[in-house]
């Protein structure tokens, strides 16, 4: 809180400009054994030195993106009566998680030119250099990626879910699903007027495994041999234990 106040005093903004001051309900998400998704509340205020400028209403867009990773999208086709993976397109960088929340329908909040510039909507957040010439309809592969990830709540469009009060205070909420990948998640807030971005603000939320989950994960990577032996030891002792227990019961 002290830091936020300090930031408020230190910032010198040009006259008439509007600027975002942000708060987060949490800046880290720990994945433990009983992790079952998480809510992230993103809230903030618009700071201005002068009265609000004339023009269209103020709108807010909040995005939350997981780490970028390449994805291979395969398509099945019927060959000799059976369904086989034939064409494949590699998407160079797609966020493992992406949610975009707006204060009004997307088309009213952002022009397509600004979307292209900032990469805000889901199709713009995915980077694809292009498919090999042998593949037809390569754009359907990116659409399939969005469709599949949206189906498992990994890509979310939350139109008109951000609340704005008095053109000053805003609040949005994003639900992270249980099946999360580790990494630094980026929260991005944009304020727009007439579809044009006035100011943007970026902060990160660390998502990481904790406790036993962390320990097991690290061991499987750093000491794979002992991890394997440990798995087998558990398996053998569980097998023996069950057998011994049943023998006791039968007497």
């Amino acid at each position: 809180m002290l830091r936020m106040i300090a930031v408020l005093f230190l910032l010198v903004t040009p006259l008439g400009a509007e600027e975002i001051v942000l708060g987060l309900s949490r800046d880290e998400v720990a994945i433990t054994a009983n992790f079952n998704g998480s809510e992230v509340m993103i809230f903030g205020a618009i700071k201005r030195d002068a009265p609000a400028p004339q023009g269209g209403p103020l709108e807010v867009i909040i995005t939350l993106a997981g780490p970028l990773e390449p994805v291979l999208v395969r398509r099945k086709e019927r060959v000799l009566g059976i369904w086989v993976n034939t064409d494949a397109v590699e998407v160079d960088a797609a966020p493992s998680f992406y949610a975009v929340a707006t204060s009004a329908p997307m088309r009213d909040v952002l022009t397509s030119v600004e979307d292209l510039r900032y990469g805000i909507s889901i199709p713009r957040a995915i980077r694809s250099v292009g498919a090999p010439d042998t593949v037809q309809n390569s754009e359907t592969f990116t659409q399939a990626l969005i469709r599949i990830r949206a189906g498992s709540q990994l890509y979310q469009i939350l139109d008109s879910t951000v609340d704005i009060e008095e053109e000053t205070l805003f609040r949005g909420q994003i639900t992270l699903p249980a099946a999360l990948t580790e990494g630094d998640y980026t929260a991005h807030i944009y304020i727009t007027r007439d579809g044009v971005v006035v100011d943007d603000y970026e902060t990160s939320i660390a998502v990481y495994k904790a406790g036993l989950e962390r320990w097991l994960y690290e061991m499987s990577r750093n000491q794979p041999f002992f991890y394997g032996l440990m798995s087998l030891a558990i398996a053998i002792s569980a097998g023996w234990l069950a057998s011994a227990a049943f023998r006791v019961f039968q007497r």
Binding site: L72, V84, F141, F225, A235, G239
Partner: protein, 305 residues
Amino acid sequence: MQIYLPIAEVSVNAFLLLGLGGIVGILSGMFGVGGGFLMTPLLFFIGIPPAVAVATEAVQIVASSFSGVLAHLRRKSVDLKMGTVLLVGGLIGAAVGVVLFNYLKSLGQVDLLVKLCYVVFLGIIGGLMFVESWRAIRRSKVPGSRPVRRKHGLVHALPLKMKFRVSGLYISVIPPLIIGLCVGVLAAIMGVGGGFIMVPAMIYLLGMPTKVVIGTSLFQIIFVTAFTTMLHATTNFTVDIVLAVLLLIGGVIGAQIGTRIGVKMKAENLRILLAMMVLLVCGKLAFDLLVMPSELYSLGVGGDH
């Protein structure tokens, strides 16, 4: 109760996994199959990544086979000598199979090949077993008919003969070695213990009694799957120990129950049930290959080429 799996990176219901482990464990104890050919597709279905499912399944098979084999050892229904011979062949075969698998992977389409392997082998074995055990059941219902005497075929003409007292056989070690080898290769490619191929092979090709076959099959599966577990853990890092523990708690208990059910049942009935189960899985896989899937696209990990 939801639980997050550290390696698979998904959250699943713990009770669902316990239940699945229990059902597959019962089948494992009853029929002497590891249950991998049933469990692996089930794990895919609840959203576990395929690589993790195949590797973790191996750990569960070790546990339920060990639990099952202890029960069989007490009943003296394990032919340790025959098991060892099969195992020697099996380990060599598994090593060959891993090399073959990596070669096929470099050609692409390995998923399809694995599925076709399943359909073909499950179909043939299930079909043959079903017909044979159906005949056996009908024969046993006709009073006065005697069981057919064992024929002396090629199995008895080969050199290097050995006495397998528990199985009541005096045959050459070459056929069991070759069977172990072939099953090892297939097991490595298909990512299972190979029990569902081994059990019929022992009954029909080696002429072993059904009661001994199950314990012996479980005995050699322990070692083959332990070997596979270590390979997966050290090369692909895909063994999820939390998933394995949840599956094997159900699995080991199920295996004990299954063994007790199996001992009380008649051999022909046991065989026909296994045959029906094998055919059911085969049918499901064939159906998936032939019918247009609802989602034509699938996602994989990119950046490795």
